[in-house]
Amino acid sequence: MALSVDEAVSTGPAGDHTPPSRRFGGRGRAVLEVALLTVLAVVMLFPVLWMIETSIKENRDVYAIPAKFFDFKVTMEHFKDVFVASGGGRSTLSASFLNSVLVAGVSTALATVLGVPAAWAYSRFAVKAKKDQLFFILSTRFMPPVVVVIPIFLMYRQVGLIDTKLGLILIYTAFNVPFTIWMMKGFVDEVPAEYEDAAMLDGYTRLQAFRRFTLPLLLPGIAATAVFALIFSWNEFVFAIFLTSSDDVRTAPPAIAGLIGGTTVDWGLVAAASVVFALPVLVFAYLVRKHLVAGVTLGAVRR
């Protein structure tokens, strides 16, 4: 997600804010564009670069004043510390990474399993007050998590879901289902209903028709949607920090945040943990790009 935002912002100013009367020639304009883009790239990428640098610096270099940009000693100690506890054995951070994998994975799977059939139904069937229902579903995403986190906290306390992985999975699923329904409805709309009609006349039931003929065409869309849901669950911070407290339940975002704030902060460890945390998102963001471009293959229907 962050990547696409960068792109959208960086291409904007050069094109839009040049008044026609003062328009530069092709060359001057190109130079300005490159200059602006470079400034933006540096501003956006410097923190990332600094994080990566810090994660491979020795502690001495991390705290050096003035800061060392180039001549520092490379070490993998911080990355080792992310996964291995100081006395040997697994670190608490590695446990929270596993929790993140579990919570994000299960909630995404649940949201996909619930959301895809729902999207199909909303796309194919005459549902009463369909538009109102879809708006209601979307409206659950209008409010930022911070607004609802207190009521959710109180409800979770009542039913004993506080500080459980199941609680996090449920809340992330609840947030991802509307998203999945809306994304997938667009993809299902793109697949002509005639494939299912034809399959039913061939002798298949409605569900068989969906599973055999529509579902395969939806796979790229499902992949893209699932990746977005996964990134949301993986990055989620507010619910995670409010609804969990113990180390064996915490997911990575609050766990990393928890490293900051003691009397001394091990910045090398924070940076290394952040790098490890960011990698899956980068990989998945890349995959989303490919899938979104690919879209749904439409074959044999003349329009």
Partner: protein, 358 residues
């Protein structure tokens, strides 16, 4: 057996009444064409028969049995869709085999049936291709093969030739008639093309705004249109309609002309009527005792014949003539009318006057 009957079908989409009490009886083995302009409810009727549409009211009977609530699969029908709806990830072979796979036929049976169909429709060389690699005409044949590969109660065809170019369309018309004759099965065929309807059908049902206007053989629909609308919709160039009324033994036109009153009309004097005259029942070349004075408005040479537009009063009559006909616009001429083949409609209701005496 393969009779299809629908009784009082009603279906609305929002505020649009797509079907407004459609009742049809489709005999076993017939080539039954449902004809109408777009939006008439033809496709909805077909989808209702197939079980793809939830009806507001009415029933569907297959072989005399009420099948209204049955699933499409249980109805034992095959359908060709306007856009073919070939499965894009399957080869032509797999597309054709699909109805047999769904019914769990053995692979040797499937191979034999697909081979039979592909030679019938001349698509042997295309079986390993995917729909995206096929031309429109080839997709059409594969879609047809997928429908014909089984022996269902009836075949439903939703404007299957609309997306083909003219030459292919004419070719496939002949082909479909041939296939229908060789199978002897019931075909329910939806089209907005009257030429298809007249050339292929045993029976035609003309539909307009969700209501059946007329059911009959192509000749009946053409020669005895039930109302002014059917007369105008069927036939090319369209029928010319002139306002008039009867007066003793004369028909007096609103434009001032008079014609002998056809023997068979029963209309009382003074009742407002519409005289319907088809282009081929008019002539500018022959002389007869029934004729209308007019002036030449224009010539439309069509190759095999020429359509002469003649202005009578404020109205334009379309007259079919030989290609040798000549003239200059504005020239005065007489149009001879074959009154035995003329049609009279009530100007108020649009219904055809009784032709019992004819």
């Amino acid at each position: 057996m393969g009779t299809v009957a629908v009784r009082g079908l009603r279906k609305s989409f929002g505020k649009v009444q797509a079907l407004d009490g459609v009742t049809l009886d489709i005999p076993d083995g017939s080539f039954f064409v449902v004809l109408g302009p777009s939006g008439a409810g033809k496709t909805t009727t077909l989808r209702a028969i197939a079980g793809l549409e939830q009806l507001d009211a009415g029933s569907v009977h297959l072989d005399g049995r009420d099948a209204t609530g049955d699933s499409p699969a249980a109805r034992d029908l095959a359908m060709v869709f306007q856009n073919y709806a070939l499965y894009p990830r399957h080869t032509a072979y797999e597309n054709i085999a699909s109805p047999l796979r769904a019914r769990r036929c053995s692979s040797s049976e499937i191979a034999a049936a697909v081979e039979r169909m592909s030679s019938l429709l001349h698509i042997e060389g295309l079986l390993q291709r995917r729909p995206a690699q096929l031309s429109g005409g080839e997709m059409q044949r594969v879609a047809l093969a997928r429908a014909l590969v089984r022996h269902p109660r009836a075949f439903l065809m939703d404007e299957p030739l609309t997306n083909l170019d003219l030459k292919l369309r004419v070719e496939m018309r002949t082909e479909l008639t041939r296939i229908h004759r060789s199978l002897g099965a019931t075909f329910v065929y939806v089209t907005n093309d009257q030429v298809e309807a007249l050339s292929m059908a045993d029976q035609v049902a003309v539909l307009r705004e969700g209501k059946v206007q007329q059911v009959g053989t192509p000749a009946e629909v053409y020669e005895r249109p039930a109302n002014q609308w059917v007369a105008g919709f069927v036939g090319s160039p369209p029928i010319s309609l002139l306002a008039c009324h009867a007066e003793g033994d004369r028909l007096v036109g609103a434009e001032g002309w008079t014609l002998p009153r056809p023997r068979w009309t029963t209309a009382e004097d003074g009742r407002p009527l519409l005289l319907g005259l088809r282009a081929e029942d008019l002539s500018v070349e022959q002389r007869g005792d029934a004729s209308l004075p007019g002036e030449l408005y224009g010539l439309e040479p069509l190759g095999d014949r020429t359509v002469v537009d003649v202005r009578v009063g404020t109205q334009i009559l379309k007259v079919k003539a030989r290609t040798t006909v000549t003239g200059t616009p504005g020239e005065r001429l007489l149009v001879t009318v074959d009154l035995d083949r003329a049609h009279l409609f009530d100007a108020g209701t649009g219904l055809a006057l009784s032709e019992a005496g004819r």
